[in-house]
């Protein structure tokens, strides 16, 4: 299930707000299942400034290359080295060990523009319906 305390984008990234205006970022379970086995991640290095909804990296899986968008603006504090070494973590644990980067948010109120977990559930349910039409 999509964690309740996380916020979600329409591009299927999540951000988990942390104390001190920080946030951990990853991709959703829906995104990883659509992508298939992740083989390579191109993530912004620590110190990079990212902007909400702008491209910040790429994810390559066995069947697709997908852009990764920043769910909020700020500076990259940390990159998850474990996921660089073993990209399969994104598939196995997208909301836990498969996190991608940690951000220092420059404008925390941007998170209000994101979906909560219920809304994101509805959003992907709709996507599923469009697909089956």
């Amino acid at each position: 299930m999509n964690p309740k305390e996380y916020k979600y984008t329409q591009e299927h990234e999540w951000i988990c707000p942390e104390p001190g205006n920080k946030g951990k970022v990853g991709i959703t379970d829906f995104a990883q299942s659509e992508l298939g086995d992740v083989v390579y991640l191109d993530l912004p290095s620590p110190g990079t400034q990212v902007e909400q909804f702008k491209k910040m990296g790429e994810i390559e899986s066995v069947k697709a290359v997908s852009d990764l968008f920043a769910p909020a603006s700020g500076q990259v504090l940390e990159v998850n080295q474990a996921v660089i070494d073993e990209p399969g973590l994104v598939n196995h644990d997208p909301y836990g060990d498969g996190w991608l980067v940690r951000l220092e948010l420059s404008n925390p109120s941007e998170l209000d523009a994101l979906m909560g977990s219920d809304k994101y559930d509805e959003f992907i349910a709709q996507l599923g319906e469009e697909d089956s039409e």
């Binding site: 591009e11 083989v39 390579y40 191109d42 390559e60 697709a64 290359v65 997908s66 852009d67 660089i84």
Partner: protein, 461 residues
């Protein structure tokens, strides 16, 4: 006194290619070489390292043979046999060059060439009169003057090729292509390898995206990569050498049984007599015009001694251009399409400008990419890591750069080089039939990505 049309000082890929081309054009030629024909490339560079890399490739293949249904028992890398084979490959190619010189009646003088004004070259006690001179003296490892750089166990790239035993661990100082190739070789054979580089990226001149991919690939292969680390000293600490460097996080150290200095090369002009001749230098490099002539009439210079890209194929090309000009034709060196290849696993190859250079130049450009995992041939080979990336002028579609990381990238780049040399567009490549199933389809698909889109790959929005 012997008289020649052209005397070429230096018998490396610049010098010997120039000599043979000059003979083809009807000139009488002599080559002066102080060491062995073939130069750095054949004796201490491209060739011996590629021979070693081939052994590593075979080892890696053997290890995954089981997955492809080939059962191999015990697999062992025998370092002394690997090194002996490397030497025999070098000898075979060196005798080939010797043979070519003989067949073309090119006199080879063994010794250091001094230029005596106006038109005389002196080797040992012999003087050769000549109408034209081509300097192709190449380069040598640049000194890297830090405390401890002369300790036993600190090797130059020449010395590392003569090792008798595989070191347990090796610290490679310098993340240029030379450094990453040696790191790949030794890591592949079982040495614990760390690369230390002062810049934030490996292989500074290649596309950043590919550089980042390479850093991750090396990490997964077990190579430790330390970027932003400026080495300031090497110290002996018992059985190991300690490399100490400054990083943004403060002083750090990494230890190894041996240390390899892959810290760059510099033009070699010693004893040529350039000051007496009044030849213009830029630092240590000889300055030439676009016809590759120096400021002294009739004296040309080619290859590493110009202090630019220091690639064997550039030197050979320049050798031919210099000969044409020396023999009264007029042509200019054209550097629009110079390929560069790095024999890591997978290989990296590129031509033209990087995405960063496109961005900085202000030209409107478009980037397309195609991953090898969507290329059928790569899947059959089980070599799907990497991609082709193409940068084209967004207005007219002309190819500005191609960057490949993947299986046989060094061969695939040839199509991109030809495309750039001819001023071809992405559409030209896309409308060229590429054989199926081959890796070259990845280049084709990348070109299609510049137009309406690749056939075998969709970007997930």
């Amino acid at each position: 006194m012997t008289e020649k049309d052209i005397v070429i000082i230096g018998g490396g890929p610049g010098g010997y290619a120039a000599a043979i081309h000059a003979v083809h054009l009807g000139a009488s030629v002599a080559v002066v070489e102080k060491d062995s024909l073939g130069g750095t490339c054949l004796n201490r560079g491209c060739i011996p390292t590629k021979a070693l890399i081939q052994s590593v490739e075979v080892l890696l293949e053997a290890r995954k043979a089981n997955e492809l249904g080939i059962e191999i028992g015990n697999i062992t890398a025998n370092f002394s046999k690997i090194m002996a084979r490397k030497t025999s490959v070098v000898n075979k190619l060196a005798s080939g060059v010797k043979q070519l010189m003989k067949a073309d009646n090119i006199t080879v003088y063994n010794g250091i060439g001094h230029i005596l004004p106006p038109q005389l070259v002196k080797v040992n006690d012999e003087e050769i009169a000549t109408r034209k001179i081509i300097i192709a003296t190449g380069s040598e490892p640049a000194p890297f003057p830090i405390p401890g750089s002369d300790l036993p166990g600190v090797l130059t790239t020449d010395e590392v090729l003569e090792l008798k035993e595989l070191p347990e661990s090796l610290v490679v100082i310098g993340g240029s292509y030379v450094g990453v190739e040696f790191a790949t070789i030794f890591n592949g054979l079982g040495t614990k390898v760390a690369i230390v580089e002062k810049l934030p990226l490996l292989l500074e001149s290649i596309d950043e995206e590919i550089s980042r991919r390479l850093a991750q690939t090396l990490l997964r292969q077990g190579i430790e990569v330390r970027l932003r680390t400026t080495v300031k000293a090497i110290e002996r600490e018992g059985a190991v050498l300690k490399v100490v460097g400054d990083t943004p996080q403060g002083e750090q150290e990494v230890t190894g049984q041996m240390v390899l200095m892959a810290t760059g090369r510099q033009p070699y002009t010693e004893e040529l007599g350039l000051p007496q001749l009044g030849i213009k230098l830029d630092g240590l490099a000889i300055v030439v015009d676009e016809r590759l002539e120096t400021n002294v009439d009739g004296v040309y210079a080619v290859g590493d001694v110009l202090g630019k890209s220091m690639l064997a194929h550039t030197a050979s090309y320049e050798g031919e251009i210099a000969v044409e000009n020396a023999l009264g034709r007029s042509c200019q060196a054209d550097y629009r399409a110079v390929p560069g290849c790095i024999f890591t696993h997978p290989e990296i190859a590129s031509v033209g400008i990087t995405e960063r250079e496109a961005k900085d130049s202000g030209i409107p450009y478009k980037v397309s990419k195609f991953p090898f995992l969507a290329c059928a041939r790569a899947v059959t080979m089980d070599e799907t890591a990497g991609m082709v990336k193409m940068i084209c002028n967004a207005k007219n579609g002309r190819v500005l750069g191609i960057h490949i990381m993947g299986p046989h990238a060094s061969e695939l780049i040839a199509e991109g080089v030809l495309a750039m040399q001819l001023g071809a567009t992405a559409s030209d490549i896309a409308h060229t039939i590429h054989a199926h199933p081959t890796l070259s389809e990845a280049v084709h698909e990348t070109a299609m990505g510049q137009l309406e889109g690749s056939i075998h790959f969709q970007r997930v929005p």
